[in-house]
C-alpha cells in the first residue's frame, strides 16, 4: 500500500530506489520501497522504531553488505547506475555516498588524521599542503575549524559528543561525496549540539544530496524539504515535508505525527 504523492515537481533524482526489499535471513525488513532522492533537497526518513528506515538507509551505500544474512532485492540507482550491479565498485560507491552514524565514531587518532584518512586512502591529495587544505576546508564546512584549529593533533575521541559528530561529518565531507546519509545523527547529543548539527545540515544542503533518518518529527520538519514516512517495513507516504506534517494523505501518517503511536 505504497502511496506516493504525485504533487512533487519534477526534480532530478540523485538516487532512486525501485521496489527495494531487504531480508534478514527469512525475515522481510523492507517491503518494496520505491523512492527518488533529489539532489537539491534534504530528505528525511521518519517512522516508529523498528520500521526499517535505518535498514533502508544502509542499503543506499551498501553498508548492509557487512551483515552476512542481509539480502537486497530490487534496484537502487545512483545517477542511473545500479549500485548492486557487478560493475559497481563498493569502495567507490561509499566514497560517493558518505555516511554519518547514530553514535559519533571518530577514529582513535588525531583530529587531523581523522579527516585526512579518507583523502589519503583514495589518493585525493598530492602532498602535505593539499592534504592540509582539504582538512581545513572540511573542518570549516563542518563548522568545527574555529574550535579545533589550535589542537589538530589532539585525539578525536577527546572532543565533546557534538564536536565528535561534526568531526564525523567533516570526515565524510573530506572525500567530497555526492550524497551524505545520516543515521539519527543527533540521537546521542544534547539540544545545543543538536541545533549546531541542524544548522550544519542547512548549510550543506544544496552542495550534497542529504538523507537523514530521525526519530524527532520536529527535527524532520526543521531540516528537511522532503519527508518519507516508514511503517512496518513499508514506505507509507512520501512528499513535501510541509504537506506530510500539515496535510497527510494517509491515516497512519496522521496518527504517527499526531503522536498516537511511535
Amino acid at each position: 500500500m505504497t502511496v506516493v504523492h504525485d504533487n512533487l515537481e519534477k526534480t532530478e533524482a540523485k538516487m532512486s530506489a525501485n521496489a527495494v526489499s531487504v531480508f534478514y535471513g527469512d525475515k522481510k525488513a523492507i517491503d518494496e520501497v520505491s523512492i527518488d532522492i533529489p539532489t537539491e533537497y534534504v530528505t528525511a526518513f521518519i517512522g516508529p522504531s523498528g520500521c526499517g528506515k535505518s535498514t533502508f538507509l544502509r542499503t543506499l551505500n551498501r553498508m548492509n553488505d557487512t551483515i552476512p544474512s542481509a539480502r537486497v532485492e530490487g534496484c537502487i540507482e545512483l545517477d542511473g547506475e545500479d549500485i548492486y550491479s557487478s560493475g559497481m565498485d563498493v569502495v567507490q560507491l561509499r566514497a560517493r555516498v558518505g555516511m554519518v552514524f547514530q553514535k559519533p565514531n571518530p577514529f582513535p587518532k588525531s583530529i587531523y588524521d581523522n579527516i585526512a584518512y579518507g583523502p589519503k586512502i583514495h589518493g585525493l591529495a598530492e602532498g602535505k599542503d593539499e592534504l592540509d587544505a582539504i582538512v581545513e576546508k572540511s573542518l570549516k564546512r563542518a563548522g568545527l575549524w574555529e574550535e579545533v584549529k589550535d589542537r589538530l593533533l589532539d585525539s578525536g575521541t577527546a572532543l565533546s559528543g557534538g564536536q565528535q559528530q561534526r568531526l564525523c561529518i567533516a570526515r565524510a565531507i573530506a572525500v567530497d561525496p555526492e550524497v551524505i546519509l545520516m543515521d539519527e545523527p543527533c540521537s546521542a547529543l544534547d539540544p545545543i549540539a543538536t541545533a549546531k548539527i541542524e544548522e550544519l545540515i542547512a548549510e550543506l544542503n544544496g552542495r550534497y544530496a542529504i538523507v537523514i533518518v530521525t526519530h524527532s518529527m520536529q527535527q524532520a520538519a526543521r531540516v528537511s524539504q522532503r519527508t518519507a514516512f516508514f511503517h512496518l517495513g513499508k514506505m507509507v507516504e512520501y512528499g513535501r515535508t510541509s504537506d506530510i506534517f500539515t496535510n497527510p494523505h494517509e491515516q497512519r501518517t496522521q496518527d504517527y505525527i499526531t503522536g498516537r503511536y511511535g
Binding site: 569502495v91 560507491l93 561509499r94 566514497a95 552514524f101 565514531n105 577514529f107 582513535p108 565524510a172
Partner: protein
Amino acid sequence: MSERIAPTRTPEFEARLKKRYASEKRFRALGLGAIVFSIAVLVFLLGTMTFNGIGGFQRVEMKVPIDFTQAGIAASPDTMAQPGALASLEAQGLRDVLQYFAAEELGEDAADELGAQAWRDVAAAVIADPALLQRSESFWLPASADLASGYEGEGSSDMQALAIGLYEDGRLAKNFDPGFLGRSDATNPQQAGIWGALKGSLLTMVVTLLLAFPIGVLAALYLEEYAPKNRWTDLIELSINNLAAVPSIIFGLLGLAVFLTLFPNLRSAPLIGGMTLALMTMPVIVIAGRNAIKAVPPSIRDGALAIGASPVQVVFHHVLPLALPGILTGTIIGMARALGETAPLLMIGMRAFVATPPDGFTSPATVLPMQIFLWSDEIDRGFVERTSAAIIVLLLFLLVMNGLAIYLRNKFEKTW
C-alpha cells in the same frame, strides 16, 4: 492508614540490609586474604631463591702467581689476535707452566686440585693482554669440585684440611664470579656457566616468536574478519581451543615425529625447539588475538567502511592497531609459557650436555629451564647453588621479556 510503613523501612528490610553488608565484608576479606597469601608465597619464593642463588654467582678460587719471564712462552700481539691463539698457547705448554707454578707456590697436593680447565682462564688473560708475558702476575683460578666441597666443609677430611690450610694462607677464597654469565655448562660446577643456555633460550624464543606471532595474528584476523560463520569455522575454533590445552609433552612428540624426521641433522637445535614451542604458543596467540579483535567496536569498522576503506584497509589501519595491545598480552602469556617449558624440548634432544654456546639456529643447544633441570640432578653441592643462580637468570630473562612486551602494549594502547 497513617500506620503504613514504607517497605524499605521495615525492621525486616533493615535486617536484610545488614546481612548484605556482612556478606560484602566477608567477600572483601576473602579477596584480601587471597592477595596477601599470594604475595607471601611470592616473597618466600624469591627470598629463598635469592638467598641460595647468591652463592651460585660465586666460586671457590685459588690464587696462583705465575712468573711469565721464566715460562718461556712466546706470543706476539699479532698471533694472539688470531683464532689459533689458544691452541698455540696450549702447544707451548701453558698447562704445564701453570701446574709448575701452582706446585711451587701452593704445594703438590693443592696443585692437583686446580680445576682441569683453569689454564683456559690464564690463556684468556694472555690473549687479552700479551704484555703479561713480560712480567709476573697472580691469578684467581677455579678450584676442583673436591676442593670446593672441602671449602664448604663437606667431602673427605683430607680435602677439608687442605682447604682450611690454603684459606688461612689467603690462597683460597670464594669470590664473585662474573664469568658465570659468560661460560657454558661444564662437569665442574666451579667452571659451569649459564651463557650457553641463555643464548640457546634466546635463539629458541626468536624462532618461536617469528613463527607463532605472525601465524597466530593472521589466523585470528582471518577467523574474525573474513571467515564465514559456519560449521567448518566452528570446528576450527573448537580445535584451536583444544590445541591450547594439549599437554606440552605431546607437542614434543609431534616435534620429534615430524620436524626431526624432516631434518634429522638438526637434533637439539634451537630451530627445531623454536618450531615445536611455536606450535604450542600459536593457539594461545590466536585465542587472545580473536578476543582482542572482537573487542574493537564495530562502529570503528563502520566508520572506516563508510568513507570507502577496503576491508584490508579497515583491518590494517584500524582493527589491528586497536587490537594490538590485547594481542601482545596474549603473546606475553604464550611466550612466557614457552620460555619455561622443558617437557617438549626433552623429546627433541635439547637435554644434551652442551659445553659451548650455540653459534646459530642450527647448532646444538640447551635452554635455561633445561639447564636448571640438568643441574638440579647433579649430586655435587656446587651445582645446587648454580641451579639457584640459573633460576634467578631465568626469572630475570622472563622479567625483561615481559617488561618489553608491557612497554610495547602501553605504547600502542589507545582509548576510544
